[in-house]
């Protein structure tokens, strides 16, 4: 195999429990490279993570990732999109990267998929990588945010998210509600703009650092 032999059963089981517990929150789930990615509602990130940590045993948060979906949005710059969207004009497709192959091994909820399809894609995604020790299984939880939409900080649940969320704030300008110390982490406080946003030029801006 290309990567380690991850046992699928515990993750699938954890997902079942999560879906039963939060039927409204789980928007969709996909499975790629033996990794489970679950998209949940932005408002429910704290209860979902709290459940995964305390009841499903995901005792460690490995990383928090911020992504700018600007180029995958229907209103994004034309020509930049990788492939022509099949259903242009119809229900907006999911951002690129969501369409990963689903396997029969995972009980993907039909309901969740319809919910996702009816929802317009949003500007940003925040991904939480969770790990359960010692069974060595991983799960990825994600939330989507529109521009200027805040998300609850998960620091009260996983302290490891502290600097990772500061980094996302620094690079994307996403507001984490309830973060104990939300400041820029790499760039000077007086820096203007958020470099990892897709509309920030690669060469930087004049008057920058």
């Amino acid at each position: 195999m290309l990567d380690g032999q991850i046992d699928v059963a515990p993750v699938a089981q954890a997902f079942e429990r999560l879906r039963d517990r939060f039927p409204e929150s789980v928007l969709d789930a996909s499975y790629a490279g033996r990794e489970l990615a679950v998209r949940v509602r932005r408002e429910d990130i704290i209860p979902v993570l709290r459940f995964l940590k305390h009841e499903a045993g995901f005792n460690s948060l490995t990383d928090v990732v911020g992504i700018d979906n600007l180029k995958s949005l229907p209103t994004g710059r034309a020509g930049d999109a990788p492939a022509s969207r099949g259903a242009a004009g119809a229900a907006p497709s999911l951002p690129a990267g969501r369409t990963v192959e689903a396997t029969a091994a995972l009980p993907v909820s039909q309901k969740g998929e319809t919910t996702a399809a009816s929802e317009p894609p949003k500007r940003f995604s925040i991904l939480y990588q969770l790990y359960r020790f010692p069974e060595a299984c991983r799960i990825r939880i994600s939330v989507d945010l529109a521009e200027a939409e805040p998300v609850d900080s998960v620091v009260p649940v996983y302290r490891a998210a502290d600097w990772a969320e500061r980094e996302i704030f620094d690079m994307f300008g996403i507001d984490f509600t309830g973060h104990p110390d939300l400041r820029r982490i790499y760039l000077p406080d007086e820096f203007e703009g958020f470099p990892l946003r897709k509309d920030f030029p690669l060469e930087g801006k004049t008057g920058g650092v």
Binding site: G33, D63, V65, D68, P82, V100, Q129, P134, Y158
Partner: protein
């Protein structure tokens, strides 16, 4: 009366300080000699790597990963290549996997030998720095003979490794396998029972296991806190499941235990290299990978056990030959978050020792 005025003092340490291992600045508050608060200030080496990667092709990113943890560039190469291969579905030949294991373990040894040198130097034992660097030299010579680079080696490619191991390199590795145990024993002879070393490390920088896990601490620091968590065994990659090795674990979670864990890890790395060399399979050293590698839309996270801890890459592809987003989970960055907790209540002079025991590299903290 006078003591009240000196109750709390703010001290600035770095960014140009020999013991901060690069350009790290620490804002320290002390009450007499006791540390109340330590706040790392980052960004002095921030090069915007993640932004840069979005403009490079998958192949062009590999040499850039060398510049992250520049004491273990092969580990960065490996972590990145494995992630892209997993995303693109590239099957790496068995021989290439073994060569990668050999290179990654030699890199771990080189990284740990540099670490013990810096660490001992930080607490005043300069001799060990010379020993560590002398021992590390032969590893850098191997990398130089193999790929031409000593520090930023660029020693892996998508689909395998750039060169096959020839007789010269194998001979050099065999020689290093024989000489290194002596170096490790010499260093241990200088430190393990040294009263000053003990005094500066024992019971210093303690972090309880639950807090270590909560803070996302990984690598030797977590194993020194009593947790046998090693991705090489728990989520094996690149054929690590073929090799027989132990995971050293200690329980006191102080600076001394981090030293013991790393010293034992070096011996285990030698064991792995020996097994990989003895059982090196025949075959290709690199798979055929198109020069313009277009990866269909997808997301993947993959991580490896780098010398500093869990080194992970998250990649989202968009169907072109350039990634949409690459996020790196750098072990030093997350590990440094625990510094304040480790230093609180210790003496000011112990900060350098605790910081040294975390084994940080600013190249991967600031990205």
């Amino acid at each position: 009366m006078a003591s009240k005025a000196f109750k709390e003092i703010d001290l600035n340490m770095g960014p140009q300080h020999p013991s901060t291992h690069g350009v790290l600045r620490l804002k320290v508050s002390i009450d007499n000699e006791v540390v109340l608060h330590v706040e790392p200030v980052l960004g002095y080496l921030h090069r915007g790597m993640e932004k840069l990667w979005e403009s490079q092709t998958y192949h062009q990113i590999i040499p850039l990963t060398d510049r992250l943890d520049y004491l273990a560039s092969l580990s960065n190469n490996l972590g990145y290549c494995l992630t892209v291969e997993k995303l693109a579905g590239i099957e790496v030949p068995k021989r290439a996997q073994y060569i990668r294991v050999i290179l990654a373990e030699l890199q771990r040894l080189a990284s740990h030998l540099a670490w013990i040198g810096f660490m001992a130097n930080d607490v005043g034992a300069m001799t060990v720095l010379l020993y560590g660097f002398e021992a590390r030299e032969s590893f850098l010579d191997i990398f130089e003979t193999y790929a031409g680079g000593r520090l930023t080696i660029h020693g892996m490619r998508l689909g395998g490794v750039p060169f096959d191991l020839d007789e010269t390199v194998i001979g050099m590795i065999r020689k290093v396998l024989e000489t290194t145990p002596k170096w490790i024993a010499d260093i241990e002879g200088l430190l393990t029972d040294n009263r000053i070393w003990r005094h500066r490390t024992e019971g210093i920088g303690i972090i309880p296991q639950s807090d270590a896990l909560e803070n996302g601490l990984t690598g030797p620091c977590l194993r020194a806190a009593g947790m046998a968590w090693d991705l090489r065994r728990d989520l094996p990659y690149s054929s690590y499941e073929d090799f027989d090795f132990d995971i050293p674990v200690r329980t006191a979670s102080d600076v001394l235990d981090r030293y013991f864990v790393r010293m034992e890890e070096m011996r285990q790395s030698l064991r792995i290299v020996r097994q990989a060399l003895d059982r090196l399979p025949a075959g290709e050293h690199i798979a055929k990978v198109p020069r313009t590698l277009r990866i269909p839309p997808g997301e993947i996270y993959h991580s490896i056990e780098a010398p500093k801890g869990e080194l992970g890459f998250f990649i989202r592809s968009n169907g072109t030959d350039k990634p949409e987003r690459v996020k790196m989970r750098s072990p030093s960055f997350i590990n440094l978050m625990s510094l304040e907790q480790m230093c609180k209540g210790n003496l000011f002079s112990d900060i350098v020792g605790v910081l040294g025991s975390l084994d940080i590299v600013l190249g991967e903290i600031d990205k």
